[in-house]
Amino acid sequence: MIRNMIGFGTGVLFGLGLAVSHMVDPGKVLGFLDFAGDWDPSLLIVMGVAVVVTFIAYRMAKGRSTPVFAELFQWPTKTAITDPRLLGGSAVFGAGWGLVGYCPGPGISSLAYFAPQTMVFVTSVVVGSGLAGFIPKARIPVVSGTP
């Protein structure tokens, strides 16, 4: 129950942050990705401030044995940086991001604007993510020796 409330509260904060910073507008995001045009660095500020706050929280978490309302911290375990899944997946995502101007967070949060484009985008993301969940990991070659 408490974990659901934390999920809800953090979701509201996230959705507010995306709306306040105009990151819900695909045009604003494309303005950031358009380095050769009239470049808009706003996204960099949003990400930079969010990273600093998260970094402080991360340092605080390191000083605790457990989270406040859960039994353990669940840290990602992979560390390889030459992982073809990481690079290939991120490149495919980035190309899709550049095509539309939406990443998953703003896509979902801006459903609040009831634009048909947003609904089509979110449906496509869910279908894509659901389908990718079926891709057997072994079929994608892992070049680095790290398990």
Partner: protein
């Protein structure tokens, strides 16, 4: 840089940072939005409900701002046509799942915990996005 909005970017970034900070300190999770979605496809018993609450809150948070500011749907500016949106959405779904994160997962949570892997992912998707925008706007002239 006519469209640069540093003040709202600072406030919005702070709120997004607090969201990921609370999720980490209170629930012990470091996940972004694509990871929250991926964990529902398919849902795992005992680990699904909070994800739905998060996504509901995400929409409500933006909805509250929309109501408070009186912004209409014209706030969202789309360059992309519907077929491009479908292709871009599918690529986003597949790419974030295979790559293990999106702008929030790798870009905020991952870099926030100083993960080199997330920094590499973030630079990769920003570069790929920039290439596509460059081609669209400066080569094809869409």
């Amino acid at each position: 840089m006519e469209n640069f909005t540093p003040i709202s970017a600072l406030i919005g970034g702070g709120l997004i940072g607090l969201s990921s900070a609370f999720l980490l300190i209170l629930s012990g999770r470091t996940v972004g939005v694509s990871g929250i979605i991926a964990g529902l496809l398919p849902p795992e018993k005992g680990d699904a409900a909070w994800r739905l609450w998060f996504l509901g809150g995400l929409i409500l948070g933006t909805g509250l701002f929309r109501v408070g500011s009186g912004d209409g749907v014209e706030t969202l500016v789309f360059d992309a046509t519907m077929p491009m949106i479908i292709i871009g959405g599918l690529m986003t779904g597949v790419g974030t799942r295979v790559g293990g994160g999106c702008t929030s997962g790798h870009g905020v949570c991952g870099i926030g915990r100083a993960s080199p892997r997330s920094l590499v992912a973030t630079l990769t998707f920003i570069a790929a996005g920039a290439v596509v925008v460059y081609i669209n706007r400066h080569v094809l002239g869409v």
